[in-house]
């Protein structure tokens, strides 16, 4: 199962990238002294070194002594890093960040970070020196891919929106003037039927206009369009060629769904899973659905720090599910009687005092570590796959909020 292994490492690398980016985003330099270099994979390292040397000598002209020193230090540090590479950078290129950041109280601290092989190739060489690091191009690569248009409609109302990566984004809605079934006030059946057909036609045009306004400008980025509604409406809408022809060509499929309000957009994404099969969203969703189903049927699921950890150590976890937005540390306590206990605490919060739940003694802090690192390490030792789950969809949000962001699908019931 080499593909699985690759996927895991990919998932994991993304996580590590994200963490570094989050860290870098926070930093600021007091002057224009933070250096970022984006290096494409076909750029010779010797070229880069030459460029950096050039910048180093030009930096001598910087007026502020402090800034000058800081920039030159950063460039020296980058040159040192570059020595580790042969002729070319690794696949997809690399990005180096270096500079003196404000570490509070007028102090500065020199940091250097290297990110190798980002998810997409670095497109062009960039040298950037500013009061913050240039992280947007990398953030852009990290963003979930996939842009799909969503349209749901029946004769009463319609909603259009996006599926962007893993997030459903309702944008616009319309409600119709199509008369209901009750015919009133002496109208002939034929006249009623004709007026109704006209009203339906007008409404379909309105829905198409709404979709065109939204999606035509994005038609080149669009990966596809899903259309949903209760039985007949979506067929009529599509068969009637109401949509702009370039959008019509992008329709991946039509799906039976009952609701046509905003919730229908979410139902449409569920119903359209097959058409979206290669999307990351679907993979995340399937993991969460399996976990939820296992919870329903019984023991092959675990959640929360301690039970999940215990299962991991036992080697009973098939897949470890961690929320991408999990920002907690694990604190390991040990009491004088040798009981070890674990608790999670928000990354930025102080470590709390802890009483041993077995003997009531004050327990000592043994260790404090990022929860993700902590669990992933055990998972790696036991050959358990780790999956990071986005919070951009409902069940992913539930993982974070209802289960503390930590869960596992088990190989067998353990009763833990």
């Amino acid at each position: 199962m080499s593909t699985d292994a690759e996927e895991t490492s990919e998932d994991r690398r993304k996580y590590e990238f994200r963490k570094v980016l989050e860290e870098l985003e926070e930093y600021e330099g007091s002057g224009t002294q933070l250096v970022t270099i984006y290096i494409p994979e076909d750029r010779q390292i010797s070229d880069v070194v030459a460029h950096v040397t050039q910048e180093h000598s030009e930096a001598a002209n910087i007026k502020s002594k402090q800034t000058r020193t800081n920039v030159q230090d950063a460039l020296t540090s980058i040159k040192d890093r570059l020595r580790y590479y042969d002729t070319y950078p690794p696949e997809n290129g690399m990005v180096i960040f270096s500079g003196a950041i404000d570490s509070g109280g007028g102090q500065t601290e020199m940091i250097t970070r290297t990110l190798e092989s980002p998810p997409d190739p670095v497109e062009s060489f960039r040298y950037h020196c500013d009061s913050d690091f240039l992280i947007e191009p990398l953030e852009h690569m990290m963003a979930d891919s996939g842009l799909f248009g969503l349209i749901v409609l029946d004769r009463r109302e319609a909603n259009v929106g996006w599926l962007k990566g893993k997030r459903v984004e309702p944008v616009k809605s319309a409600s119709s003037l199509v008369p209901g079934k009750q015919r009133k006030g002496g109208q002939s059946a034929q006249r009623f039927a004709r007026l109704r057909l006209e009203a339906i036609d007008n409404f379909y045009q309105e829905v198409a206009e709404m979709a065109d306004d939204l999606m035509v400008p994005k038609r080149h980025e669009l990966d596809g369009i899903l259309v949903g509604g209760p039985s007949p409406t979506k067929d009529e809408f599509l068969d009637g060629d109401y949509l702009h022809h370039e959008l019509q060509d992008k329709v991946l499929g039509k799906f039976d769904i009952a609701y046509t309000d905003e919730s229908g957009l979410y139902d449409l994404v569920d119903a359209g899973q097959e058409a979206l099969a290669d999307q990351e969203l679907v993979e995340d969703k399937e993991q969460m659905e399996e976990f939820f189903e296992n919870l329903h049927t019984g023991g092959e699921a675990t959640y929360g720090l301690e039970p999940t950890r215990e299962n991991l150590v036992m080697g009973s976890v098939d897949r470890l599910l961690l929320s991408e937005d999990l920002t907690e540390d694990v604190v390991v306590y040990e009491c004088p009687n040798g009981h070890t206990e674990y608790e999670t605490v928000e990354r930025r919060h102080n470590t709390a005092d802890h009483e041993c739940s077995e003997c009531g003694e004050v327990a000592e802090v043994q260790e404090r570590e990022d929860a993700v690192e902590h669990l992933m390490e055990i998972a790696d030792q036991r050959g358990t796959e780790t999956k990071f789950i986005s919070t951009d969809f409902e069940k992913g949000e539930q993982l974070l909020n209802a289960f503390g962001g930590i869960a596992g699908i088990l190989r067998y019931e353990t009763g833990v």
């Binding site: 079934k181 009952a258 919730s263 209802a402």
Partner: protein, 422 residues
């Protein structure tokens, strides 16, 4: 005259294609509300469309798309009377995509006829409709075991279906002792208004007799006016006409009313019932009315009309007790299915699961559980994603219950304990 008789709102429910519309058409035909030549016309049209056999259903299925597909899409009302009652019949769609419309129809009914085809028995929407009927406060069910002609009027087949239905009623705790079962053929007309010779083994009432024997609807709670809006029409000469059934209180011309959550209001100009203008209407009445200054875009299905000085509550959040009927996995905080309450349908987030309740004793089994699943009862806090008008069940039970749907099925039902108003 109709005014002398008590009013009954009757829903016709059941699985798709089991013969609900055909039964209503047949009933109207046999009681003289629909003349023979109209049925003849429908027959021609149906045959032209390759839908032979749908002539009685066409009485109710009047939309082009319904006739072409032979499927009821939206609810339709028809009025007719027996010796005892003035009936408003709501023919509900059975197709799973249109359960949302069935809920609107059934939420206005006092009693219901459940149609189950003898050759098919209890099917998915038979189940879902029965559960919803119970949730939506339907008092009594008459079960029409239909299409008896297709099983050669066999008593064994009839009994088999009765057995399945009884199991189902027991499951959702619908009292079965006073349930009436009738073997019918809506298409052939057996046991609809006249006792059939084809079912010599059956000596119970015909459908018409059973309707006549229904108990009178329970008097409503002594509460202010609450009138959930089922639809909004524009009628030339009159203007905007919201229609719906009065759940509690009375509506009089000259009243100052408020629609929530749309938050508009005005003075009631005219009230129409059974195609006649009336000065006032009472609980159970289906009315169309006109309010000064209200346009078609100001109000919508799901609004509730009440007195301007005691308007319907609009919930920021509400606490409710729910029972999970069927769910393939588990329900946690953050779950956002669609809630149906009276005629409204709104996506709502279960913000917290406060207590798990032991369904057999009603006692708290667990505080703040992480999740609940099928068979569980729980107290939950709910946040509507769009404004929703709903009332505590202890104050106005008619406006205090709801059904929860997700993934194309009804997964839970509940009643409102308290409302935190916006």
């Amino acid at each position: 005259m109709s005014e002398d008789k008590p009013h009954q709102n009757l829903a016709i429910i059941g699985h798709v294609d089991h013969g609900k519309s055909t039964l209503v058409g047949r009933l109207l035909y046999e009681t003289g509300s629909v003349p023979e030549h109209v049925i003849e016309q429908h027959k021609e049209e149906a045959e032209e469309k390759g839908k032979g056999g749908f002539e009685f259903a066409y009485v109710m299925d009047n939309l082009a798309e319904e006739r072409e597909r032979g499927v009821t899409i939206d609810i339709a009302h028809q009025e007719f009377d027996t010796d005892e009652y003035y009936f408003t019949i709501v023919d509900c769609p059975g197709h799973r995509d249109f359960v949302k419309n069935m809920i609107t129809g059934a939420s206005q009914a006092d009693n219901a006829v459940l149609v189950v085809a003898a050759d098919d028995g209890v099917a998915p929407q038979t189940r879902e409709h029965v559960f919803l009927a119970r949730t939506l406060g339907i008092n009594e069910l008459i079960i029409g075991v239909n299409k008896m002609d297709l099983v050669d009027y066999s008593e064994d087949s009839y009994k088999e279906v009765i057995g399945e239905v009884e199991d189902l009623l027991n499951q959702v705790q619908f009292a079965t002792d006073d349930t009436t079962f009738i073997p019918i053929s809506a298409f052939e007309g057996d046991n609809v208004s006249e006792a059939s010779e084809n079912t010599g083994w059956y000596d119970g009432p015909t459908l018409l007799e059973a309707l006549n024997d229904l108990p009178e609807p329970e008097p409503p709670t002594d509460a202010p006016l609450r009138l959930p809006i089922q639809d909004v029409y524009t009628i030339s000469g009159i203007g905007t006409v919201p229609v719906g059934r009065i759940e509690t209180g009375t509506l009089n011309t000259g009243d100052n009313v408020s629609f929530q959550p749309s938050d508009v209001g005005g003075e009631v100009k005219t009230i129409e019932m059974h195609h006649e203008e009336v000065p006032s209407a009472a609980p159970g009445d289906n009315v169309g009315f006109n309010v000064r200054g209200i346009g078609k875009d100001d109000i919508r299905r799901g609004d509730v009309c009440g007195p301007a000085d005691d308007p319907p509550s609009v919930a920021e959040t509400f606490q409710a007790q729910v029972v999970v009927m069927q769910h393939p996995s588990v329900i946690t905080a953050g779950y956002t299915p669609v809630f149906h309450a009276h005629t409204a349908q709104v996506a709502c987030t279960i913000e917290s699961i406060d207590q798990k309740i032991d369904p057999s004793t009603g006692e708290v089994a667990e505080e703040d559980p992480d999740f609940i699943k099928s068979g569980d009862a729980a107290v939950v806090t709910v946040r509507p994603q769009k404004p929703l008008s709903i009332e505590p069940s202890s104050e106005i039970p008619e406006l205090g219950s709801f059904a929860i749907r997700d993934m194309g099925q009804t997964i839970a039902a509940g009643k409102v304990l308290s409302v935190d108003e916006r």
